[in-house]
């Protein structure tokens, strides 16, 4: 183990990465400019460890880097062919579980799922599509929910509960029937107090929670991941779609 100005370090793919006590592998990696793919992780929220995209090998054993506290001397493998294959497979499963029609999706170019698929070289969904029947919820005058694209990351659940203090969203069901619901008696978003300024509006990594009537206002070429791959962008700035609402 090496030391740099008494800063404690651990290794990711043979590279020294400094860390502060209490940090997770993901936090320390992102702070050091080392990208580990992730979907359900957001720096503002308690890590969730559910999407498994950030799985790394710690001294030869798999672990989710967003939940794993760093310890000095850890040797982490991340960008290996084996782990990339696994991540690609996880993405393929997410794609076929929902209805992800990128060609007509307004989130295309701003979508983390799509950006990761490009970054990890996913060339096809590989598995049979489930084609679930998930009607959209357009009852809110300003916000559209397109459940077809939900990947169950629970970022909206966490943002709405912990930051917005509105608890608009929740997950219901178990296993393969698990799905995102709206916490109102009618189950419709129009009967909640959600507003377009809520943090829950900006955290969806895919195209579920959308400000209405924005659509394709941002042209191709000016979207977040159009020119710079997700692995070279750090932090979780609000999506470009939101920044450029009319």
């Amino acid at each position: 183990m090496s030391r740099m100005n008494e800063q404690q370090v651990f290794l990711i793919d043979g590279r020294d990465v400094p860390f502060a006590p209490g940090q997770t592998v993901m936090q320390a990696a992102l702070d050091a400019g080392v990208y580990i793919p992730h979907l359900c992780f957001h720096p503002q929220f308690k890590p969730h460890g559910s999407c498994k995209l950030c799985t790394v090998k710690v001294n030869g054993r798999p672990a989710t880097s967003c939940t794993l506290p760093v310890a000095a001397g850890m040797e982490i493998e991340s960008e290996t062919a084996e782990l990339k294959d696994k991540r690609r497979m996880l993405l393929q499963m997410l794609f076929v579980e929902g209805n992800h029609f990128c060609p007509s999706c307004e989130k295309s170019g701003n979508c983390k799922l799509q950006a990761l698929a490009y970054d990890l070289g996913m060339m096809s969904p590989h598995y049979d599509h489930f084609f679930p029947d998930r009607p959209v919820d357009a009852t809110h005058p300003e916000i559209l929910l397109d459940f077809n694209r939900c990947i169950l990351c629970e970022l909206c659940v966490r943002a709405s509960g912990e930051v917005d203090r509105k608890n608009v969203f929740a997950l219901s069901g178990r296993g393969i029937t698990k799905h995102l619901i709206v916490n109102s008696e009618s189950g419709r978003l129009g009967d909640t107090d959600m507003s377009t300024t809520d943090m829950a509006m900006s955290v969806c990594p895919v195209g579920v929670i959308l400000k209405k009537r924005v659509g394709f206002a941002v042209p191709v070429g000016q979207r977040k991941y159009d020119t710079i791959p997700i692995s070279e962008q750090f932090g979780d700035a609000p999506n470009a779609v939101l920044e450029q609402t009319r």
Partner: protein, 500 residues
């Protein structure tokens, strides 16, 4: 007349010849011909075998997604669907006028598409027949053969198409399936560098388009016995025209003429298209048969596309194309030209008009403007609706949507260019079959005559087959000995099953 040779009285006694698939057209279709032992033709049908369901699955989607989604009907002229949908949604949103920049960028995108699509059709798909002859060596009768025998013509064709694609790329963001037009305007204008790049090449495109008009014109003047006669039949014509009666691909009102060139109606607002046009469903094709209500099924069918537009308009705003239009009209000696192959000539006049218009738009500073979008006041009531019409490369394209208060589409109806020409294409192949195939041993070259008649319309069969749920079907299971084992029929109300 329109149903002659459509249905033979005793098909089970006849020999069947099929052209499957029809080649060098967009999409998949087939032609079936039923002949007796003397090779007399009894039935000819152009079948469209693709099946799409856009009108149904756009329902329940947010309206702002529509222009991007419906263009996926096709990869050849998606810009037409993209713009027709955007125009319909402008109306739905109560927008009377988009900004000058938005309108000019949309026009530029559309004229770029007309240029690329017409170039693709003439040079890549049709020139092998026209340059080598209808029954020439089949192995050479393709764009590769043209490139070998006429490299200059092939090169110009490829570069014309490339230029059109570049125009689309720079205005829509992508060469195919871009996102440039949005309800209320556009999301980008033309970048200065892109404008300069296009201006550098556009004069060459105008010059090459002029040459293409000459090639297509000479086919008629050199061999009128073939080109003026092949697949010639009389029909009505329909297109949109500008308020002054001029040619316009992007916007205008409906005008139709009868087979003698007399106006049937003029300057009709297309928002009321449903009062003008009705669609008939026939059990043997996935493509509907539209007709003008006022004239009825038998006489109300019409042609759309270049042959209709060039003869329907009073003038063309660009000088070179208008000169060519006048020559074309003069060639008819006071009567409309009905020759199927004159579609090529008219199409090249339109390509010249597109090239000249692109040049004009590139010289207009509005094209780089920053005022891109307007908002309107949505029509009051539970549902708002709008109709958008555009002249697509193959003819008049209608998009009609209704949108609920929750912004979701509740109804979509599309009448696409090739659908308008359905009866005309069937009539054309029947005319050609009667004239060239009757009593003769069928050869590949003779069958190519049928395909040439279809190709002249530049049909796009993929987007023409969008009906879902209303299409009656007949399925027959026939044993090896020719006996009917089972037959299932479905009408527009549901399924009825009958054992034969």
């Amino acid at each position: 007349m329109s149903h002659e040779l459509e249905t033979a009285s005793r098909p089970e006694t006849l020999r069947r010849v099929a052209i499957d698939p029809v080649s060098r057209v967009e999409g998949h279709g087939k032609v079936t011909i039923l002949l007796d032992e003397n090779n007399k033709i009894h039935q000819v049908r152009l079948h469209i075998v693709e099946f799409r369901g856009f009108e149904r699955f756009i329902q329940g989607r947010p309206y702002w997604e529509v222009p991007v989604m419906v263009q996926r009907l096709c990869g050849i002229c998606p810009v037409s669907h993209h713009l027709a949908a955007s125009k319909a949604l402008d109306v739905m949103l109560g927008i009377r006028q988009i900004t000058p920049t938005a309108e000019k960028v949309r026009r530029l995108m559309h004229y770029g598409q007309m240029l690329q699509s017409h170039a693709l059709h003439f040079f890549h798909l049709s020139s092998p027949d026209l340059l080598f002859g209808f029954d020439s060596e089949v192995a050479l009768r393709n764009i590769v053969g043209v490139a070998a025998a006429h490299p200059e013509i092939a090169r110009k064709g490829v570069l014309l198409r490339k230029f059109g694609q570049e125009v689309i790329h720079m205005t829509a963001g992508k060469r195919v399936h871009g996102t440039g037009a949005v309800p209320g305007g556009v999301n980008k204008s033309l970048a200065a560098a892109d404008r300069a790049a296009l201006l550098k090449d556009v004069y060459q495109m105008v010059a090459w388009s002029r040459e293409a008009v000459q090639i297509s014109k000479q086919l008629h003047t050199a061999t009128p016995a073939l080109y003026d006669v092949f697949g010639n039949f009389r029909s009505n014509f329909m297109s949109i025209v500008a308020p002054d009666g001029g040619m316009d691909f992007y916007h205008g009102a409906l005008r139709a003429r009868d087979a003698d060139g007399r106006l049937l109606f003029d300057q009709v607002n297309y928002q009321g298209y449903n009062d003008l046009i009705e669609e008939e469903v026939r059990p043997w094709s996935y493509m509907k048969f539209p007709f003008l209500r006022s004239l009825g099924k038998e006489d109300g069918w019409y042609r759309v596309g270049p042959l209709a537009r060039v003869q329907n308009c009073d003038q063309i705003s660009s000088p070179l194309a208008d000169g060519e239009r006048k020559e074309f009209v003069a060639y008819g000696k006071g009567q409309p030209i009905h020759a199927t192959l004159a579609y090529h000539w008219a199409r090249m006049i339109e390509m010249l008009y597109a090239a000249e218009t692109i040049k004009e738009l590139l010289h207009d500073d509005d094209i780089e403007g920053s005022d891109l979008m307007v908002t309107g006041t949505r029509q009051p009531g539970e549902e708002a609706e709008g109709v958008g019409v555009i002249e697509a490369p193959r003819g008049t394209l209608f998009h009609h949507y209704r949108v609920g208060e929750d912004d979701l589409v509740t109804m979509a109806n599309l009448i696409v260019s090739t659908t308008h020409n359905n009866q005309a294409m069937n009539t054309a192949v029947r005319e050609v079959a009667k004239k060239y195939l009757t009593g003769r041993e069928i050869t590949e070259g003779l069958l190519n005559h049928i395909e040439i008649a279809i190709r002249a319309f530049d049909p796009c069969l993929s987007c023409a087959t969008h009906a879902l749920g209303r299409m009656p079907l007949e399925v027959a299971i026939v044993g090896a000995d020719g006996t009917l084992i089972d037959e299932v029929t479905r009408d527009h109300r549901g399924l009825t099953r009958a054992l034969a």
